[in-house]
Symmetry: C2
Subunit: 335 residues, 2 copies
């Protein structure tokens, strides 16, 4: 089922106003990210301007701030951690793009495409360290450990994914798919939410609830990303449908579509030969409006509902409302 334009318009409206209660905090986070990009080494400054100059939707720092503000007014540590989370996210994107040989990012060339692979690799390393340095401003060792554990988990997931051969990718199980996205996407959402709760001095059970909320939301987020990659509006997305398949990445929508695809087409889609593009086109065309995609979308919606259910016992107010609305927005977006 393609996300309807009616829903998408709503989602955009919701999206625009969603972060209003924490807009002042997000502004300070953006200020902080801009300050990180000012350094004395000219070539590094040029790389950081490219890497940090075009921030995304700031979903992850918004999660950190909202989870912290559920419990108390934000202090400098919470804002530092929100900036650290976004900086870490940026570092992982830069290295991902090298690993996946992705040439485009956020409507422009990826950093390695514009600045060379060696420079992009080093800039990513720098931003990992910068993120750790900013996270250390929380003066909280538990946060530092969550940070390091998150990076290890992300890397482990990507190494596992990267090590799979073509056939293993074509026949990836649903369980392996979930393990991969739990590491490569949900881990950072988990860090964003859990660190906010820790810095908000929430109780153990509240921290548990927000950790699981973040993880569940991260899974839903990635599943929707994977649906959009296959069936989304090419113009809106700025890339042709089926990019994941083209990079040899198996996703839940294709796992569910597998019953309807001939093994020849499936293997051709994961091959390196001339039949690949035709096979991918066949899969993306079959995906639009299919029952399989509807089923995947339902699965993401169920995850979003699970995530919001976890918020029930937390302090009511604008931040809880924001976290609840964000879960809906994430599964109803078309971008």
């Amino acid at each position: 089922m393609r996300l309807s334009h009616a829903v998408s318009a709503q989602a955009h409206e919701l999206g625009n106003g969603l972060f209003t209660p924490i807009a002042a905090d997000l502004f300070l986070v953006e200020e902080r990210l801009r300050a990180m990009a000012r350094v004395e080494c000219t070539p590094l400054e040029a790389l950081l301007a490219r890497a940090l100059g075009n921030p995304g939707k700031l979903v992850r720092p918004a999660l950190t701030i909202a989870c912290g503000r559920l419990f108390r007014e934000p202090n400098a540590g919470l804002l530092s951690m929100a900036a650290a989370v976004e900086c870490l996210h940026t570092a992982t994107l830069i290295h991902d793009d090298i690993v996946d040989e992705t040439e485009e990012r956020r409507g422009g060339p990826s950093l390695h495409a514009s600045s060379g692979r060696a420079a992009a690799l080093l800039a990513g390393d720098y931003l990992f360290a910068q993120a750790a340095a900013v996270a250390s401003e929380t003066n909280n060792l538990r946060i530092m450990r969550l940070f390091a554990d998150c990076v290890m988990k992300v890397c482990t997931g990507q190494i596992e994914e990267n090590a799979r051969g073509r056939t293993a990718r074509a026949f990836l199980t649903r369980e392996s798919y979930y393990r991969t996205i739990d590491a490569k996407t949900a881990a950072l959402f988990t860090l964003a939410c859990e660190s906010g709760a820790v810095l908000g001095e929430a109780s153990l059970s509240q921290i548990d609830a927000l950790r699981t909320y973040g993880r569940t939301l991260g899974l839903a987020f990635q599943i929707i990303d994977d649906i959009l990659d296959l069936t989304g509006d090419e113009e809106l997305m700025g890339k042709p449908a089926g990019s994941d398949l083209r990079q040899g990445v198996m996703t839940l929508p294709v796992i569910y579509l597998r019953d309807e695809i001939s093994p020849t087409t499936l293997l051709a889609a994961f091959s390196d030969d001339g039949a690949r593009d035709r096979a991918i086109q066949e899969i993306t065309e079959g995906a639009r409006g299919s029952r399989a995609i509807e089923r995947v979308h339902e699965e993401a919606r169920d995850l979003a509902v699970s995530a919001t259910t976890l918020l029930a016992g937390l302090p009511p107010g604008v931040c809880r409302d924001l976290l609840e609305a964000l879960a809906t927005l994430i599964v109803e977006r078309d971008l």
Copy 2:
């Protein structure tokens, strides 16, 4: 002046016995590194076995332990930090080898040569995070900040070096050379020594002395590395003379030799054309036994003397003796 075999034999003897007073601690560090390589993800485990399975001379963790033991018996935190320093060193080598396209490391293929660039990039990222996680076991926020600052400094130095064009490299100044090696080598020696002193609960002035000792030793270490690259025994080194030049890296020996080299030869050595190998051979042949190399070696020896002078006010004993002897060994080694 080539390091004589008499000196080298002494140096090796010294080298073999040098770490005896801290052998039990280094054994525990090696145990810890082996434990880090045991993980549940099979492809990651294979990468870590390659990356951590063939440790170097453990100079950096030895520094951490000796600097800590100067003041008190080592505790778990000191050993963790020593392991973190070696783990961080390994991570930087893996990424360096990708950036410099180095195919060999410690007598075998580099990780990206054996396992592919994407896997090596991710394994390096994992080891950065693993190093941070192990460093966090010190329960010391100051250590975490030193760690992050060190990584940022190392990356900044490498980005600056990587950004230089061929002509800029050929005419690199002595000052720029020192700034580069201060970042890419001395920063990690500084971290190794300073973190040991901090964990040994040394006084501010003692920490200052050991920080500067580490930095000075790191500079001397890199200068000797650069001499050996140009004039060392090819069989002993396991690589042909002039590897740095072949990678377009300007070093102090070549800066001092520059007066004796024609600009044509110099530019040819930093070119990408057929004249390069001949030019590099001319430079390495001219280097052996030259006054310029002797001058560079004297400069490294002076740094080693400065480093040992800084130890004068510190508690006497086997650890101070070790740090003093290590400075001598580093500038008299032939490997």
